[in-house]
Amino acid sequence: MSLLDVSGLVVNRAGVGVVRGTSVTAEAGQISVLLGANGAGKTTLLEGIAGIAPVAAGRVVLNGADLTRASPGDRARAGLALIEQGRTVFARLTTEENLRVSMDPETGPENAYALFPELRQRSGIAAGMLSGGEQQMLVIARALLARPRVLMIDEMSAGLAPVIVSRLMKAVRRLADEGMAVLLVEQFASLALAIGDRAYVLRRGGVVYEGGCDTLARDPERLHHLYLGDAPVGRGE
């Protein structure tokens, strides 16, 4: 059995089905990559797993415990961490205060600084003044200090320079290698496929591809087809 097992999830937004019976899994020590164009339902899927978006059907099981009806806070305390898109730092708090919000009073922010040394230099600065890349590092580090078992990251690379993205990707790989299960939602496929183990491609709320990351990375035409579609005008489904 997988560490995180999401099966047949249905999530509606304002009465519209955005996630339509989707199943994904995440294993300890592995990275599951969720790909798909904007509007495919990736974010809503993560929100359903984290408990922010109400789930209409399906199950969310973490390490054998059914969390489908649990509150977002209970899921977080059970070891399910979601990093929302948009780099949700507490802008008026300093970098270190952001870290202290989540960490145990006894353990220091050292683990976070070890992963992203640049944060140490910015520790006294309001998080709102950090660069986009630093903010993304901060939210990852912040989530990390709560020692989650499954880390879900939504659109980590949106709006960031490629060099920063590749740095973040390496950090995420390191977390997985240390035993964490990672569920990575990305619109930009190549870098995510390069570090990921298992890949899912979503389109209009359903999984249209499931398989190894390496297989998909070797077949860019297939990916292009899955993403942008190349059907003739008027094709039905």
């Binding site: 190549s190 995510a192 070797r218 292009h224 005008v233 008027g234």
Partner: protein
């Protein structure tokens, strides 16, 4: 529409007449006297319903407005002003209008919270002022004279009933006009209201003015009812209780206002007969209001829901498509391009969301706007539609500059937009919304348009329409206005592939059928290929490519922006 308005007005008149007839034949003078209070309070509740229920603002000083009307009536009585009570009441209502407008002014552009504070402040201030100046005739026991014809308690009951019915019918008629729809639109979303050309300050101020007028009338009626008044009749506590009851029963509905009147006027009597403390009423009102706020449904609304469940109204079949009746293009082609955006730059602090973006939409074409998350697509729509405080660069609609104009002015000049999340007021019906958004089309045109987009019939309440279809209504409203330019922000999001393809076909036909040019933001490239003649790609706030869809979407730079896939990455993988 006219028929519906006439029908409900008739229903109001008939039920009020029935209540009046039954009461006068069956009830003793004592109960008639009590019932009169029900309708006086009912009028005050209706006045509060305009501001709170319809326009969604918190007013905690409604009885102060009533106090202004009552004071004026008392003053005219003491002064012996000609015309008698009906004229005094009318003048009293008018006297409350400037007060209402003045209270509404400081909250026009700020959050509703401030209105709650300013109205409570006014209620407190009015309390002190009234306690000091006292009512005209209060110390000399100078009774407010009732009209000779209605001098008895039964007579005055009839008088109040007639005034109640006139106001209820008038409000019913107003609620079906553009003004009534505008109030609901403002309550639901100020931005969306402005985007369909509604003046938000105008809607708020008119609501306050009319509300104060009606409250003033109820105060005048109370003066005639009680003869002499004391400041306690209009104290802050009365205003607060009125607010709680209005929230609990739903004062912007006729039956809600009567139910509220019954609660306020008869509850103390009931408590007295049960040997319970009379002020228990306020506790019930408070709990009832909290309950209504937590469920989002007042008593009147719950009743209507129950009624609909017991007697389901036959859902009118969607109209059949009659292409000949579709609204005709109303755009004059005065320049080659419908919209010219040049060097548009938007900054949020140090972040540049849009960087010198140029986009031209030729007349009668569909241009696609694509790009990854955070590329600046919605920011562009917000800027062009006038929803950003500032931007650099310029936007011109058919050659005329738009910069500096409010969203409402831009909408009126022929620039319409839709929203990623629909913001249509659920209290409207389909036809009312499209009429509000379009500024008026004929019934035939309306039906044809609804059929063309496969929307439900015009009489369907929005509350019964699912979110996906509401987005279609958004588009229908915008099309019906036949604007120069239509900005569609992800119209197909959340729809199945088949539905999205169908919508894509319709969007492609908009320019030829309705004369509007379209800017389409869409993520499904099949839809983009299908609907657009050219496509512009944004990445990091810059235009990275522009041209025919087939060519542009295969460009390596576009693939890279969209998927992060390029030659290098493939080699690395």
């Amino acid at each position: 529409m006219k028929h519906a308005s006439f029908g409900s007005s008739l229903a109001i008149v008939l039920s009020v007449a029935a209540i009046g007839g039954l009461s006068l034949t069956l009830l003793s003078s004592y109960w008639i006297f009590l019932l009169t209070a029900v309708f006086v309070v009912g009028i005050a509740l209706q006045s509060l319903g305009i501001v709170a229920g319809r326009t969604g603002m918190i007013s905690l000083c409604q009885m102060s407005f009533a106090g202004v009307g009552a004071w004026t009536t008392g003053y005219l009585n003491v002064a012996g002003f000609p015309g008698g009570l009906p004229v005094w009441i009318l003048i009293g209502g008018l006297a409350a209008v400037p007060v209402g407008v003045a209270i509404g002014l400081p909250a026009l552009r700020l959050r509703g919270i401030n209105l709650a504070i300013v109205t409570l402040g006014f209620a407190a201030a009015f309390d002190t002022v009234l306690a000091t100046i006292t009512f005209p005739g209060q110390t000399s026991f100078n009774q407010v004279a009732r009209p000779a014809l209605f001098d008895s308690d039964e007579g005055y009951f009839l008088f109040v009933l007639v005034v109640y019915a006139v106001i209820a019918v008038a409000l019913e008629v107003v609620s079906r006009t553009r003004l009534g729809a505008a109030w609901l639109a403002v309550r639901h979303s100020e931005r969306a209201a402005a985007a369909v050309g509604v003046s938000v300050p105008g809607a708020k101020l008119s609501a306050f003015a009319i509300s104060a007028f009606i409250a003033g009338i109820s105060g005048g009626l109370l003066a005639g009812y009680l003869g002499t008044l004391v400041s306690d009749n209009f104290s802050m506590m009365q205003s607060l209780a009125l607010f709680a009851v209005a929230t609990m029963t739903g004062a912007h509905y006729v039956h809600g206002s009567i139910a509220g009147g019954v609660l306020i006027a008869l509850f103390p009597e009931l408590m007295r007969r049960l040997n319970l403390p009379q002020d228990l009423g306020a506790v019930v009102f408070a709990l009832g209001a909290v309950q209504a706020l937590s469920t989002g449904e007042s008593m009147a609304e719950a009743l209507m829901r129950l009624f609909r469940r017991l007697f389901p109204r036959a859902v009118e079949a969607p109209p059949l498509l009659d292409e000949a009746s579709l609204p005709k293009p109303a755009v004059a082609e005065t320049s080659a391009s419908a919209l010219d955006v040049s060097s548009l730059t938007v900054r949020y602090g140090s972040v540049i969301a849009l960087d010198k973006v140029d986009i031209t939409i030729p007349q009668r074409t569909v241009v696609g706007l694509v790009g990854p998350n955070g590329a600046g697509k919605s920011t562009l729509v917000d800027a062009v539609a006038g929803f950003l405080p500032t931007y650099e660069g310029s936007a011109r609609l058919a050659g005329a500059p738009l910069d500096g104009l409010s969203p409402r002015r831009r909408a009126r000049r022929g620039l319409r937009r839709t929203w990623q999340t629909t913001r249509i007021a659920p209290e409207l019906d389909v036809g009312q919304y499209v009429q509000l958004a379009s500024g008026g089309v004929s019934a035939h045109e309306l039906d044809a348009l609804l059929a063309w987009l496969e929307c439900p019939a015009a009489s369907t309440p929005i509350a019964f329409v699912d979110a996906g279809t509401r987005r279609l209504l958004d588009i229908a409203g915008a099309i019906a206005a036949r604007p120069q330019v239509l900005l569609l922000d992800e119209p197909a999001a959340g729809q199945s592939y088949a539905e999205a393809v169908k919508l894509g076909q319709r969007i492609a036909e908009i320019p030829s059928l309705f004369g509007s040019a379209v800017l389409l933001i869409e993520h499904d490239m099949d839809i983009v290929r299908q609907a657009c003649s050219t496509v512009t790609v944004l990445d990091f706030g810059r235009v990275i490519a522009s041209g025919p869809p087939q060519e542009v979407l295969d460009l390596p730079a576009v693939r890279k922006a969209y998927m992060g896939v390029d030659g290098e990455a493939e080699a690395a993988a």
